[in-house]
Each structure stands twice: as structure tokens, then as C-alpha cells.
Symmetry: C2
Subunit: 343 residues, 2 copies
């Protein structure tokens, strides 16, 4: 394979008998340069097939027009949507995205953050992994002066920019709705308590129970990850103990999927025998049978707000502010949790 030597500023410069500086300025529409000259240089640059070397430009300019993103998963509707929206905003503002995936692994996450800093990204948006407990790396990021926005999954530290959904309120809405329907025997397949979305969704659940004076049955509260197997296993445990509630509220949508699977396996009908509602929306919930009701997180807003705050911070490093943003959720009622099925 023959590698054509890329044309550089100085190639254009010699050809046109200008200095590289003039070329550089012209190509960036610098007011120093006469419009006529700009036009000339532009056309020649084009003809020669010039493309700037961003590594060089960025090294020199000390900014990369690049944003690092760290997410726990990607083949997951929530993160997929988030990322797509982030892309939209980034594209509009002429930023590139360096996307990294932690696979819910704290060590990997740390490495990615380090690489991103080494790549001199202008800022970072992160949704932390479910097992991240050591927050030192975030301190490092701050020391290095790299703007950082936490999105959705947020560590317990002070003075950080966060954009999240109002998890507690959202969970409360769901359970309050359920109780008003008549449900009392309610289980919660919760997330780990260490992570905000685990903790706060649980709190919303607890708030609603408390409001209606329903005691929480501890054997119906589980703590676990965010995947299908967690939902499946938890359901099976209750089933085998013959200790099934009337309604299950799951911390994420994949966990609910696990429940669907388990219920089908043991021939229990949803919602007649066991009803369910989850936190988090996905297009396919419409296609389940019955269609799965949920607390909807507006992913577009989450992404847009995160980007907004990040860009603000990038462009305004001096008057940097820690903004904490919380977005409201709404209930989407479909085929589950719409009426009380006496058990």
C-alpha cells in the first residue's frame, strides 16, 4: 500500500511563496489576511487535498475539540440513546467524541479516564460503573483541570457537576401510583446502595410506602446489579420460597426483562399473577407482552444538559461552577401496573 505523503501547510506555502503562518491564518479565516488571499489559498489548499493534522494543531493550540465519554455499557438502550444525543450536540458544536466503555468495571474505567486525559480531551462526561467505589481518580481529574460532568450515575463526592434524573421522585411516582391502584405487597429489586441510582430509587420506593403506611417487607427487597440475570434470580428465589409479592418494581429495565423470563418459565402470567413496573424506558417495552410500564428518563434532555454544562465549563474555565441539575421523570403506563390484580 502506497502512502501518499500528506500535504502540509508548508507544502502550500512553498508552492504559493507565502509563509506557513500566512497559510495557517488564511485557512482559519484569520482577520489578518486579505479576503482575496484567503480565497486563493483556500482554493489551492483544496486542490492539493490539504487536511490539517489535528494532532499537530491540538498540540500547539492546547485544545483538542474533543470530548471524552465514559459509560458502563453500550448495548443498552438507555446508554445507546444517551450517546446518540451526546453525538448530536457534539457534532453541532464541532466536537469529536472519544467514547470509552467501562463494562461496569472500575479498573477499566480508571484506565479510560487516564487515557482520555493523556489524549488531552477538553472535557469528560461520565456515567460511573456500578462497582466504582474509589473516587481518587476524579480528584486527579479535577487537579488536572479537566472539566468533568457526571451523568445519571453519580459518585458520592462534593463539588462536582452532575446531571441526573430525579430518581427518588420518579420511583415515588411509580409506587405511589401502584399503591393507589390497590397494591400493598410490593417488592423492589433495587440496585446497589453505593450508587446513587440504586440508593435513590430505593428511597423513592420507601417514601411511597411510608406515605401510605405500608411496612416494607425486607424479604422482598433485593440488592444487586442492573442486568437480566439479577432479575431472573431474584424472582426465582421468591418463587421457590413461595413468597411472591403482587408487584415487583425493578431498578432498571433489563432487570424487569429477567423477571419476564422467569415468570414465563414458571408459567406465571403478567400482570394477572404477578405485576411489574420498572425504572427506565426502552422502545421495545412496547413490544413485550404485556407492554411494560415504566418511569421514563428523558435521555435527550440528560445528554443535552450534560453537554451544555460541560461546554460552559470548557469555555469558561475561570468562572467555573459546579452545577447540579436534576431532571423530572414521568410515568409511562402501558400494559403493566395499570390495575390491581388481586392475588
Amino acid at each position: 500500500m502506497v502512502r501518499e505523503k500528506p500535504v502540509t501547510l508548508s507544502d502550500i506555502a512553498t508552492r504559493l511563496n507565502y509563509s506557513t503562518v500566512t497559510i495557517s491564518k488564511a485557512l482559519r479565516d484569520h482577520p489578518d489576511i486579505a479576503p482575496k488571499t484567503i480565497k486563493l489559498i483556500r482554493s489551492i489548499a483544496n486542490e492539493m487535498g490539504y487536511t490539517p493534522n489535528l494532532m499537530a494543531r491540538n498540540l500547539s493550540a492546547r485544545r483538542s475539540n474533543t470530548i471524552g465519554v465514559v459509560v458502563p455499557k453500550i448495548a443498552h438502550f438507555f446508554f445507546g440513546s444517551i450517546i446518540e444525543s451526546i453525538y448530536d450536540v457534539a457534532f453541532k458544536h464541532n466536537y469529536e467524541i472519544i467514547l470509552t466503555v467501562s463494562q461496569e468495571n472500575a479498573e477499566r474505567e480508571r484506565k479510560h479516564i487516564q487515557t482520555l486525559m493523556a489524549m488531552k480531551v477538553d472535557g469528560i462526561i461520565i456515567s460511573i460503573s456500578q462497582e466504582t467505589k474509589d473516587y481518587e481518580i476524579f480528584e486527579t481529574v479535577r487537579k488536572r483541570g479537566v472539566p468533568l460532568v457526571f451523568m445519571d450515575r453519580i459518585p458520592k463526592i462534593k463539588n462536582i457537576c452532575t446531571v441526573r434524573v430525579n430518581d427518588r421522585e420518579g420511583a415515588f411516582k411509580a409506587i405511589d401510583h401502584a399503591i393507589n391502584l390497590g397494591y400493598k405487597k410490593i417488592a423492589h429489586f433495587a440496585g446497589y446502595n453505593e450508587i446513587n441510582i440504586g440508593k435513590e430509587r430505593y428511597q423513592g420506593f420507601a417514601d411511597a410506602m411510608k406515605k401510605h403506611n405500608i411496612p416494607i417487607n425486607k424479604s422482598w427487597v433485593f440488592r444487586g446489579g442492573f442486568g437480566e440475570s439479577y432479575g431472573y434470580d431474584s424472582f426465582m428465589k421468591l418463587y421457590k420460597e413461595n413468597n411472591l409479592p403482587d408487584l415487583i418494581f425493578t431498578v432498571t429495565y433489563p432487570v424487569a426483562l429477567g423477571v419476564y423470563m422467569a415468570a414465563r418459565e414458571v408459567n406465571l402470567r403478567i400482570p394477572e399473577d404477578i405485576d411489574i413496573i420498572c425504572f427506565g424506558n426502552a422502545k421495545v417495552q412496547n413490544f413485550l407482552s404485556p407492554p411494560l410500564s415504566c418511569v421514563n428518563q428523558p435521555t435527550e434532555q440528560l445528554a443535552a444538559k450534560s453537554m451544555e454544562i460541560l461546554l460552559e465549563n470548557i469555555n469558561n474555565m475561570d468562572e467555573f461552577e459546579c452545577k447540579e441539575m436534576s431532571i423530572s421523570t414521568d410515568l409511562i403506563l402501558r400494559g403493566t401496573c395499570i390495575k390491581f390484580n388481586k392475588s
Copy 2:
């Protein structure tokens, strides 16, 4: 926000009374340097919190350890899985990924490719958008000597590296199976003919029909995109014309979802009234009702092979070869297309 000045090689050098060169070599385990010295330098570098500036390193080293990826969508199970697998391989080989999304838009795709080249990625993996018709940019990439691997969605040009699924064979398997079941009235909601997966899946469909001497009913063959609305609209058209077949074969899984939605809307039962099978697998197909059968594309293999070929090309630019790889599919039979439902 106070930005700590990042520590550089020369900081370490002055502190240790070495030259930057020695530091640079030591940190990269260069055989020139005495092991003892390496150890010393390493520990000091660590203590000082040194991280290499990748922009500088890459500029100087003329390689970035970075791979560009261009996909049409991301909130889509197929691409999500692909990307996750690509990440796994990249991570193992110490490459970073620059992910870009074309949103099925050819112009955006072109821009992304240009940016990737400007960023001096070491290679590119791309799945082209459904509307890409101008292939000049790919010629440019080749001229620039950037290794390029096309994955799954492939343009009609010569001498390129491709990794794909055996679409024609896969589609054939599905339809052959259906016909053996007894189906004769078979529709195909196909992709655009310009794109390989559109064309070849259609061909596989046609092959099977021909094998069994069943004429293709043109009013049952549609051409369109890869999304839900296409499936929905096409189904509705047939329904309104009272011209429904017994089985629909859709080019992708979202198209099938559109059919599910439409069928439910007009109260037609799947698979009793209208049966369906699609190309492409997604976890949620298990949760549909009935669970959707499909031609399975092994995403992990697709990703792994693409990366393998790309890395080979990167490390072996001189003896560069155009490899064309085709991976077999298998049929996953679930709740649809498993028995003939006389209409």
C-alpha cells in the same frame, strides 16, 4: 478552576539531572537504559504524577494507537453489540476507539471520515449508511494510506477489505426453511438494493423461491430503509389492499418490530394470521410475543474479524492485502415461522 500544569518529560529530567531523551527512553523500557536507571526514573515519574501527552507523542511517533469507527446507528442492538466487541479487542491491543455515528446520513459520514483521517487514526472500521452512494471518499482514504475495513454494510467497489455475514445464504436458509414448512405466499420487506445487505438478502430470498419454483409476487416485495416505520407502513399498505401474504421476511429486526406493531393495531395475530421472520438477532426478540425467529449474525465474530484484519493491515502496511471475509449465519427458531399456519 485552577489548572495544575501537567508534568512533562523535561520536568522529570531537570529534577533528576538527566536529559529528556533518557527519561523518554526509560519510560518506554528502551534497552538503551540501565534497568536501575529505569526503575529510578519510573518511580520519580510516578511520584510526580507524570502522564504522557499523547498528542505530542503521536505527532512525533506518527501513529496514534487509535482506531476510528463509523457506524450508522448506535441505539440499535446490532451495532451496540458490534461496538462493544470492537472495544474488547481494541482494549486488549491497547488501542483507543474514536467512535462516530453517521445517523444513516452520507454527508455526515463523509465528514466523520475526514475528521478521523485528520486525527491521524491508525485505521478505520466502517459500516456505511443506507444512503451512501458516492464512494469517492473511500478512494481518498486509500490514497492517504489509511487502512480501512468495511464491516457488514459494504459499498460496491473493488479491492477493499470486507468482513460480512453471508447474507445471501442466511436469507436463503430462512426462506428455504419456511417453504419446507409449507409457506408459499411470502413477502419480503427488503432493504435498498444499493446496499449489499439489501441486495443480498433479497437474493437469498429469491434463490429459495426459485429453488422451490415459487414465483415472486412483486406486490409483496418492498424496498426501504431499516427502521420500524418502514415495516409498519409496508404492512399497513398490504393490509389495506387486502393483500396480505402468509409470511413476511424482513431485512432487519426493527422492520419486524414495525410489523408487530401494525399487526397488533389491526388485531391480527402472529403467527396464526400472519407469520414473520427477520434477518438479525436481538436479545429482546426472546421477550416478544410470540418470540421472534431470525437469522442470527454472530456480532462478536464480525467485530473480532474486522479488528483482526485491520490490525494486520496496520502492522503490515507494505504487504497489504485486501481480505474478504464472510461469516456464516444460523437460524434461530423461536415462536415464529415454526409451523405453517394455513390462512
